[in-house]
């Protein structure tokens, strides 16, 4: 029943990166130009040192030396200033691009079809939100600028080396084959290796977290030995993953070192030979050797940052993938006539070929209250979701005023039917923010009225900053019943004519349930209600009770009718009253 969110392919990633670049041409090319200029200024030192060596060899004065060194100092200052602005501009660009990326991602997430969020669960999405955004942030902030600078420096340095003499190209090119072979070998394996490695640390963490949070259970059930073994197993798996990547590096690092060493040694040898043939000067040999040595650092950075960039690209692909989820509703533009909700021969499956609803018919009268009861797994919640327009039925239809729920635009749908589940998420933010999200632009008076309707105004006003009190994770803790009241107050603001309550008050302390029921009663006032009942008492109050068993409505009628009929509802009612 779990599906996975898509991942963007290479082409989509490239075209997105291209569009980002096109959005900021001035910053991008400005930063690149500054980096090139800074790298050029940095090339003066070897050239001037070569001149010095040459001058010393052929005899010179201290004045000449002082002039050359002064020139060296001037170039250093120029390089410093250029570096400052080049770095600044590229970091500003990086922050800008990153902000756009994550904002696009969150907007795409918010636009995800309801069914996809339900099916994929929040795990995958949460990983993308936290880990992939972090990974990408790291890549864009650190890896990408470093890499760009390294590439610019390497190219400029290589060109400078060539300017000393064409012959410098030969030792440099001889270093390329081992470099390319080693790099290809490594990159082909590195990404998977490092992903596996980081997954093993998540696993160690998960096991440790479970052990710590379940410490009571561990003690009560004598699971200590098992937990220790579980962590040790995770460590063993992590060690295997670490050994694999270490093996990759053990092959790759020395290979690179030798690829760097070859050009240096060969430049010296070859240059020395040319000098003995009087084809080049001593200064040129010195300069060439120093340039070739200077190449090592940027090339090494290009190589070592590549796997980091690979991971960044993979994260980007996952973030962009969210935008590729197709919409599951097709707005027809038809307007519902009235508020009559009806399900007609509804069948539905999460997994192809395994229907969980087998032809359900249900006509809900305007203002009617229907309780749905039945054993776990019978399809109550699924039916509830279909009635709220979360999923489109496989066959049959769910309509409001003769228009299919999935034909309505989301915002309109919520004006008709709202689904309330046992999840009562309190968002990070003020109490006010938590409420007005249901109807942006609500006045404080509206908010207070909604809170008063659910009997929550007293405790909210007693908070240190009233409506402005920060709640949610990291803010002031609210109790489960209070969270439930906030959820109910949102409903009052949203004001739909039909409500589907999926075990909305379960998981709540029985003592609080009573109080909440009063709040709930205020919300339900004047609305059509379909309540998926967890406890029988709400069924007793309903106009009609629908017993759902094995994906069908097996009994439908008022409480008294069903009790009199003597079916499964009656049996349960009896046992509830100790007659069983």
């Amino acid at each position: 029943m779990r599906t996975h969110l898509p991942v963007a392919d290479g082409r989509a990633v490239r075209s997105y990166v291209g569009s980002l670049a096109r959005r900021h041409p001035r910053m991008l090319y400005g930063a690149l130009a500054l980096h090139v200029a800074a790298a050029l200024a940095g090339l003066a030192a070897p050239r001037l040192l070569g001149d010095l060596v040459q001058a010393v060899e052929s005899g010179t004065t201290t004045d000449h030396v002082d002039r050359i060194v002064a020139l060296l100092a001037v170039f250093l200052v120029v390089q410093t200033v250029l570096t400052r602005f080049a770095r600044y501009l590229s970091q500003v660009l990086g922050e800008q691009v990153l902000a756009e990326l994550r904002e696009d991602f969150v907007d795409n997430t918010l636009a995800l079809p309801v069914g996809v969020v339900e099916d994929a669960g929040s795990g995958d999405l949460l990983t993308r939100t936290s880990r992939d955004v972090d990974q990408l942030g790291w890549s864009v902030r650190m890896a990408l600028p470093e890499w760009t600078i390294a590439v610019v420096t390497a190219v400029v340095t290589f060109v400078a080396a060539l300017s000393v003499g064409w012959w410098v190209a030969i030792p440099c090119l001889l270093g390329v084959p081992p470099l390319v072979i080693g790099l290809r070998w490594y990159l082909k394996r590195a990404k998977d290796g490092y992903l596996r490695e980081s997954a093993t640390y998540s696993q160690i963490n998960a096991t440790l977290t479970e052990t710590v949070e379940g410490a009571r259970t561990v003690e009560a059930l004598g699971l200590g030995r098992r937990r220790i073994e579980a962590v040790d197993d995770d460590i063993a798996a992590s060690y295997r993953a670490e050994r694999y990547t270490l093996f990759l590096r053990t092959v790759f690092f020395p290979n690179m070192e030798i690829a760097y060493l070859i050009p240096t040694v060969l430049t010296l040898l070859f240059g020395g030979y040319l000098y003995t043939q009087d084809q080049v000067t001593l200064g040129a040999v010195t300069t060439a050797t120093l340039y070739v040595q200077m190449l090592i650092d940027p090339v090494d950075r290009i190589v070592s940052i590549l796997d980091e960039l690979q991971l960044g690209a993979a994260s980007l692909a996952r973030l962009l993938g969210v935008a590729q989820v197709p919409d599951d509703r097709e707005v027809s533009g038809r307007e519902p006539e009235g508020e009559h909700l009806a399900a007609d021969d509804v069948r539905f499956s999460y997994v192809e070929g395994r229907d969980v609803l087998h032809g359900v018919d249900l006509d809900v009268g305007v203002g009617e209250r229907i309780a749905m009861v039945g054993p776990s797994g019978a399809g109550k919640s699924t039916l509830g979701r279909l009635l709220a327009g979360i999923h489109p039925p496989r066959t049959g239809s769910v309509t409001v005023g003769r228009v299919g729920l999935v034909e309505l635009p989301l915002d309109d749908l919520r004006g008709h039917v709202a689904l309330v589940t046992q999840e009562h998420h309190v968002f990070v933010g003020t109490v006010r923010e938590n409420l007005v999200l249901a109807r942006p632009g609500s006045s404080d008076a509206d908010v207070r009225a909604a809170l008063a309707a659910v009997d929550a105004l007293d405790w909210v006003e007693a908070l240190p900053e009233g409506l402005d009190t920060e709640v949610g994770s990291g803010g002031r803790a609210v109790t489960a019943p209070q969270a439930q009241q906030i959820a109910l107050a949102r409903l009052v603001l949203a004001d739909p004519h039909t409500l589907v309550l999926d075990e909305a008050t379960s998981l709540i302390d029985p003592r609080a349930a009573r109080h909440l029921e009063r709040s709930l009663a205020a919300v339900l006032e004047g609305r059509t209600v379909i309540a998926i009942a967890h406890r029988l008492f709400s069924a007793h109050d309903a106009d009609r009770v629908a017993v759902v068993e094995d994906g069908r409505i097996s009994e439908l009628g008022s409480h008294d009718e069903l009790v009199a009929a003597g079916g499964s509802y009656a049996a349960l009612w009896d046992s509830w009253h100790g007659r069983g």
């Binding site: 770095r87 561990v218 004598g222 937990r227 270490l246 010296l268 001593l282 120093l290 509830w576």
Partner: protein, 584 residues
């Protein structure tokens, strides 16, 4: 490489953070020592590189001696090979040192968590302990990792200084004094940069929380709307974070530029002095090139030294947190001379509340305050804090017995019990010989198993998240039943399941535990009706015992408590109920 994980992480010195780091280092001193050795060889090879190039230029190139040039090129190549070889060995030992230390920390913390049991969450926030697994282990690992490079840095710095001093005392002193001074030159920038970075990290963390919050509440948003509000808020925070990033960039870019300028300045000074000596004929052109090389190289050991100082500071912070957790002591202690274990079939009596749990019966506890029954259930299994002597098993206080023996004979399974990740079958069958199928049937959990393609081989997600609350509760119940202990205490075992299922569980539980002792806390009539005897607690004392029907008949207070669970209208129907209850 060594064998990891270690069989025994050892007993840590947790007196002080420094002491802990030292203890960890001592425990792996041999790999640390070998790592340092390779670190020294590796960095020294880099340090002598400029000297070799200088000699090659002097004796080979400038002298136009091709055979000397070939010799020096060969030496250069060999030193390069030594550097590559020592480099990778140093890296391998650094990784080993990191892993040994990090894994040891995880093992220590796990073992300590297990030893503390229920005491742990009462003494320290679980987030604090979990942070050890996410961050601290890596900080401890890094202290050990960088140690080898630090040793290399110190030695290579000395090597270069000696070479320079031999050539020229002035140059040597410039290096020895100038380089550390340069490092200090950056210091004034560091603290504002760190402040701004910390602020940026803080905002990034908040932004990430906002995004997680949106994702976590997405289903709620989908039910009720509000996407625009959240999109706008995220955008706002994202822009604040971006602005903070730009402020970091203002300092960071200056620091980056100084990383170019300060070493460059040093190079200029060294080259200037060297060139003047060269003009005077004190040094050769090759030596001048070597000086240039040294001045560039010396930045590496210095950076390593700063890095090491940083790691040690962070390592101490991490070590302090680890020490706090390791220093905790469990509340339940093993008596020096445990009393002999009571005979099988002994009654469990709590003198404080007056509760008597008769052997072989299904006893239900109902309390006016639900918390009271939960505490009592915990006390029956020595799982409450503080531990007390009032619960007696066959007349002996639980505290006088060996805790392991108590846990074997009395098992408490509470509502919040964790379902651990791993293979479902293993998670349910803790003894290795439990009748899992029968337990699952009793817990009415057969449908959960049927829905799983892999059945008992299904891998349970972390904390059993892949199951709904009701499913988790039934699986936890099945797990407790499969242990089949002499006395089983169940706290609210059916609070999250629907009435149909609860009715089935209540009916089967009695049969399942026939001949064994079971205690259930619950206020659900379905469960209470299935109990042999119900104990009613008011103000922490048992005020009435009897069957559910008896108590409904005789105790108006009991009726009120049980009716809370039920329809408000029920209170008016109790008269009729009494009759029906009484006629049973």
């Amino acid at each position: 490489m060594r064998k990891l994980p270690l069989d025994h992480p050892g007993t840590a010195a947790h007196g002080s953070p420094g002491g802990f780091l030292w203890w960890v280092a001592r425990k792996q001193w041999h790999t640390l020592a070998i790592g340092m050795l390779f670190g020294i060889v590796w960095m020294s090879a880099q340090a002598v590189m400029p000297a070799v190039i200088g000699r090659a230029i002097d004796e080979g190139v400038a002298a136009k001696d091709t055979s000397r040039l070939a010799e020096w090129a060969a030496v250069l190549f060999c030193i390069g090979l030594v550097q590559a070889g020592a480099g990778i060995m140093r890296h391998r030992f650094a990784v080993t040192n990191w892993l040994t230390a990090a894994y040891r920390v995880v093992q220590l913390v796990t073992r300590q968590s297990v030893r503390l049991g229920g005491t742990l969450p009462r003494r320290v926030s679980t987030g604090e302990v979990v942070a050890i697994g996410t961050n601290d282990l890596s900080h401890i690992g890094q202290v050990m990792d960088v140690a080898a490079r630090f040793a290399g840095a110190v030695v290579s710095f000395v090597v270069v200084a000696v070479i320079l001093l031999q050539t020229s005392v002035t140059l040597g002193l410039v290096v020895l004094i100038g380089v550390p001074l340069l490092m200090l030159g950056v210091a004034p920038l560091l603290s504002p940069l760190q402040r701004r970075s910390a602020h940026q990290r803080h905002l990034m963390g908040r932004l990430s929380n906002t995004a997680s919050d949106i994702v976590g509440g997405l289903r709620v948003l989908r039910g009720i709307g509000g996407e625009q509000v959240f999109s706008a808020r995220y955008r706002r925070e994202s822009q604040t974070t971006r602005a903070a990033g730009v402020r970091v960039a203002q300092f960071q870019s200056v620091l980056d530029a100084l990383q170019v300028f300060l070493p460059g300045l040093f190079v200029v000074v060294v080259v200037w002095l060297g060139a003047r000596y060269a003009v005077q004929g004190t040094i050769t052109p090759g030596e001048l090139v070597a000086f240039y090389g040294y001045s560039a190289f010396l930045m590496i050991p210095l950076r390593t030294a700063t890095e090491y100082a940083n790691k040690v500071i962070r390592g101490r912070v991490a070590a302090a947190r680890i020490c706090r957790v390791l220093a905790l002591e469990p509340e339940v202690t093993v008596p020096a001379h445990p009393a002999p274990s009571p005979a099988v079939g002994s009654d469990l009596v709590d003198t404080r509340t007056g509760l008597v749990v008769h052997t072989g019966r299904l006893t239900a506890i109902v309390s006016e305050q639900p918390d009271d029954s939960a505490v009592l259930a915990d006390r029956l299994g020595m799982a409450a804090s503080p531990v007390d002597d009032d619960v007696r098993f066959g007349g002996t206080p639980l505290t006088a017995l060996d805790p392991a023996e108590v846990r074997k004979r009395i098992v408490v399974s509470d509502t919040g019990a964790m379902l651990f990740s791993g293979r479902l079958g293993d998670g349910l069958d803790l003894t290795g010989h439990g009748d899992v199928r029968r337990a699952l049937r009793t817990a009415s959990a057969g449908d959960i198993l049927e829905a799983l393609a892999e059945g008992l081989d299904t891998i349970v997600a972390e904390r059993g998240r892949s199951f709904s609350g009701g499913q988790r509760q039934r699986l936890v119940l099945a797990r407790a039943l499969a242990i089949d202990p002499e006395i089983l205490v169940l706290v609210e075992p059916t609070s999250a399941v629907d009435a149909h299922t609860e009715a089935r569980i209540a009916a089967r539980l009695r049969d399942h535990r026939t001949g064994r002792t079971t205690v259930v806390t619950s206020s659900s009539p379905l469960m209470l009706a299935a109990a042999d005897v119900v104990a009613f607690l008011v103000g922490g004392r048992v005020v009435a015992t009897g069957t559910h029907a008896d108590l409904l008949d005789t105790s108006p207070a009991y009726r009120r408590v049980v009716a809370r669970e039920s329809d408000p209208d029920l209170e008016t129907e109790t008269g009729e109920l009494q009759k029906s209850g009484g006629s049973r």
